[in-house]
């Protein structure tokens, strides 16, 4: 009676691809309107992002952050909640890592470094605990509370960085440098250990962490009992109650995992690149994570791809702004906006039509 369900390659492959193409067409139109050649612009972007070791390194460095924040949003999505607080949780992740690095610098690195990473995850999780509790047991909407906690995190960090945690004698709102044992090695350093030479870029070990996190999230959601409970609560809370799964408890657990993933974003920027805690280091990655999760349809593999796309947009966009003075930083944000609009917010705009088209042809093939 019902139509055959659309296969995965269609919903997860063709549909997002069409969305991205449409986004680029719209962006191309804008670029043409300001008198630049869209094809040339696209070429510069792609070459800038993927055409050299240097560009690729930066692209993957951005990708790393987006994978973490995208996964964070996705895990909450699966439990039926919209965690907008990735930004704040990531900031707190940075604080957690910094607190460990600055208070225990005497520890040997094999102990200190894992503790720093753990500090980032725990602090990110801790920052979502209150919104999660309020959502689960008091019904305060998680969107509202996590937005408010983003502001709280930002102001708390400013207070700490101009006050108690500021490096003595410095004018900048930042902490002292961490000991080397509390920082993650850069990719080019690691390549050096194996006798390879890579161009120096901010890409660091946390990229590997991000891929590992994506795999672990996949296992969690689709291969564990907890993941089953999370998806049940997200898809049908009444069925969860009927099954004896407490939606409130699962909500808190899923959001804690989500917060921890967002907190881990700090391993890339703080432990990997900066080696100290600085202000506003998230640079909007928490919000990009929402678009990444939407575009990746909540699936870790899709999230890695979507994060890569945004990495290309960030790095290629920077190159484009540098090459074409007419195309300003703001123009790049417009292009990114189109991608978010078509691939995120309007992700389903073409989905039905493409599916219907497929079913018509597939149906013919069967009846013929």
């Amino acid at each position: 009676m019902s139509g055959r369900p659309a296969p995965l390659w269609l919903t997860a492959g063709v549909v997002p691809l069409v969305n991205v193409v449409v986004a680029f067409l719209a962006a191309g139109l804008v670029i043409a309107l300001i008198g630049e050649n869209p094809l040339e612009a696209l070429q510069i972007m792609l070459r800038g992002a993927l055409g050299s070791q240097y560009g690729l390194g930066y692209t993957l460095y951005y990708t790393t952050s987006f994978i973490f924040t995208g996964l964070a949003v996705a895990v909450a999505f699966h439990a039926g909640h919209f965690n907008i607080g990735g930004e704040g949780q990531a900031l707190m992740g940075g604080l957690g890592a910094a607190l460990v690095a600055l208070t225990l610098p005497f520890l040997p690195w094999p102990i200190l470094l894992p503790l720093c990473v753990l500090g980032a995850a725990l602090a990110g999780a801790a920052w979502v605990l209150i919104p999660a509790y309020l959502q689960a047991y008091r019904g305060s909407h998680i969107v509202i509370t996590t937005i408010m906690f983003n502001f709280l995190a930002a102001t708390l960090l400013v207070y700490l960085l101009v006050g108690p945690m500021k490096m003595a004698g410095s004018m900048a709102p930042e902490t002292a440098k961490f000991v080397p044992g509390a920082t993650l090695p850069l990719m080019n350093q690691m390549a050096g250990w194996f006798g390879l030479t890579l161009t120096r870029t901010p890409l660091n070990l946390s990229f590997v962490f991000a891929i590992a996190a994506a795999i672990m999230v996949w296992v969690l959601i689709w291969r564990t009992r907890l993941g089953y409970a999370i998806r049940t609560v997200g898809a049908n809370p009444d069925a969860a109650v009927y099954a004896g799964i407490s939606p409130a408890r699962i909500t808190v657990i899923a959001l804690l995992i989500s917060g921890a993933l967002a907190g881990l974003m700090a391993t890339n920027e703080i432990l990997g690149v900066q080696g100290r805690l600085i202000n506003e280091f998230t640079a909007g990655a928490g919000f990009v994570g929402i678009a990444v999760a939407l575009m990746g349809r909540g699936h870790p593999f899709g999230i890695v791809l979507a994060a890569l796309l945004f990495g290309v947009l960030y790095q290629g966009g920077a190159e484009l702004a540098f090459d074409k003075p007419k195309i300003t930083r703001e123009m790049i944000i417009v292009i990114q906006g189109f991608v978010i609009l078509f691939a995120g917010a309007l992700e389903m705009m073409f989905a039905d039509r493409i599916t219907a088209l497929y079913q018509r042809f597939a149906g013919r093939a069967v009846s013929a």
Binding site: R223, L226, R231, Y242, G244
Partner: protein, 513 residues
């Protein structure tokens, strides 16, 4: 000869790959009551939605009273004299009857004039058709039967000559159903045309002049009601002979399995939903609970199943006291041998976006047999589901298919398979065959009887009176959260049950015993 009130010709409608209506023709004569029956998904709702302008047909034409009409919106339909009474009433609870009826016809920025017009029309119509409705009553104070009359009046005031009623008896007591049918006959006698969409064969036989049967998007026939029988209609609907009666031997009840004493429950607003309910179910017996939907049956099942916490009362299973909704949540109760087929499988019993295998382990996902430690083994989960599907003849037998893509009957079989196969001590069943095709009803009824014969205790809730009477060994009737009486199915009749269901008589067997 007068042209037919409605002539739908060659109506075709696709939703994606679903061919909901395929070249459907339907003719309804003026001044008749016309039935439209078919199983779920047969295309009746689609056809009526096209007639009322909710959907546009892909092709085909509609003529109203002989005039070809283009109906693209409900406004067009109303303009053509078509009125619809939905299964779920579309009324504003805090408004009076007049205010509800004048919605969409307020007559300008100030409502006084519109209200006066509507009031006079209302009085005129309710007198003409013998409908007793107080125009100034607030809708939330009215009984269900009265609400339905308001809906019918609403359509008539808007000038409807053709009334479509979608499953009009689902929420009515037998007496209210009788009253409705008297009204429908009277409307037809006055020259109005009535279409009633239903799946209840008995009602079709009772009230219609002619009946059209749909199956799988096609119109399989239109017959004179007087020259057909329920068995013939069922055969037309399903495409094969079906057994409409339930065959079962006498019960051989054993010891008391479930004992409920003075169970009361208030909802969040403080309304008493369960009022000192006492009952017991013994091993090897089916106790049925009859009643109009919304009289506490859901609360009773959910309280015993540990989903909602009762405010007072005692529940015990095999003599051991339970703390339902407190320490005993659905999970621990399942471990104690209590299984539950929920009334609304879409809301509770299944997770529609999940693959069937995942829905088939809802509530059992902690069991060792589905994987080691914290992990679930997809192969084990699917193999378990495949076994259930084979045992219950679920079609298609594909554990990987999304739950939502199964028909109602097959979804219900998945739920039943899940709840029955773990050898329950006590099975709670709510609405075992709601939205289930006739063919699957037969199968489900047999399974329930087989479970009883295997010595299990079964508490059954259904708003289908025939089903309760056919399956149960004892029947309790609920009204307003109370048990109003207890009967043996072969020692009662519809009038008797109707009085208990409406709360006109109340015997409170729990206190007498």
């Amino acid at each position: 000869m007068t042209p037919p009130a409605i002539q739908m010709t060659g109506i075709d409608k696709r939703f994606g790959a679903v061919h909901a209506n395929s070249a459907v023709n339907m003719t309804v004569q003026k001044g008749t009551v016309h039935g439209l029956i078919g199983e779920n998904g047969a295309g009746k709702s689609t056809l009526m939605s096209i007639l009322y302008g909710f959907y546009a047909a892909d092709s085909g034409s509609i003529a109203i009273n002989g005039t070809p009409s283009l109906i693209r919106t409900p406004a067009d339909a109303i303009h053509s004299g078509i009125g619809m009474v939905h299964q779920h009433f579309m009324l504003v609870e805090t408004f009076t009857v007049v205010e509800n009826v004048m919605l969409g016809a307020e007559g300008g920025a100030f409502t006084a004039r519109g209200a006066a017009t509507v009031r006079s029309k209302l009085l005129e119509l309710s007198q003409a058709y013998g409908m007793d409705v107080n125009p100034d009553a607030v809708v939330s104070d009215l009984a269900v039967g009265a609400l339905q009359r308001v809906e019918i009046l609403k359509a008539l005031v808007k000038g409807a000559d053709i009334l479509i009623l979608d499953e009009p008896t689902a929420v009515l007591t037998p007496t209210e159903v009788d009253n409705l049918f008297v009204l429908l006959r009277r409307l037809a006698a006055e020259g109005k045309t009535v279409i009633i969409v239903t799946h209840k064969l008995k009602e079709i036989m009772a009230v219609t002049d002619r009946v059209s049967v749909m199956r799988r998007g096609e119109m399989v026939g239109t017959v004179e009601t007087a020259s057909t029988s329920p068995a013939d209609l069922a055969e037309l609907m399903v495409g094969r002979r079906v057994v409409l009666t339930v065959e079962k031997g006498p019960a051989r009840p054993g010891g008391v399995v479930l004992d409920v004493q003075d169970l009361s429950m208030r909802d969040a607003r403080g309304t008493l939903r369960l009022d000192h309910v006492s009952l017991s179910v013994r091993a090897g017996e089916i106790v049925g609970i009859a009643g109009v939907s919304g009289n506490g049956q859901s609360e009773l099942l959910e309280a015993i199943a540990g989903i909602r916490k009762p405010s007072s009362g005692r529940v015990s299973l095999n003599g051991a006291a339970l703390d339902c909704g407190g320490r005993d949540d659905p999970r621990t109760l399942r471990a104690k041998g209590l299984r539950h087929v929920p009334e609304d499988r879409h809301r509770m019993g299944l997770v529609k976006p999940f693959e069937a295998a995942e829905s088939a382990m809802l509530g059992c996902s902690d069991e060792e047999r589905f994987g080691k430690g914290i992990f679930l083994d997809r192969d084990l989960v699917r193999a378990d589901c495949a076994a259930k599907m084979a045992a219950f003849d679920v079609r298609p037998a594909d554990p990987g298919l999304r739950t939502a893509l199964f028909s109602g009957g097959n979804q219900q079989k998945i739920v039943l398979a899940r709840e029955i196969e773990r050898d329950p001590q006590l099975l709670l069943i709510g609405q075992p065959t709601r939205g289930v095709d006739i063919g699957a009803i037969e199968f489900i009824h047999k399974r329930i009887i087989a479970l009883r014969d295997a010595g299990k205790a079964i508490l059954l809730v259904s708003t289908e009176l025939d089903e309760v009477l056919a399956l149960s060994d004892r029947v309790l009737v609920m009204c307003g959260g109370k048990i109003t009486g207890e009967r043996l199915p072969d020692q009662t009749n519809e009038q008797d049950m109707g009085l208990l269901m409406a709360g006109v008589i109340s015997e409170q067997p729990g206190q007498a015993a």
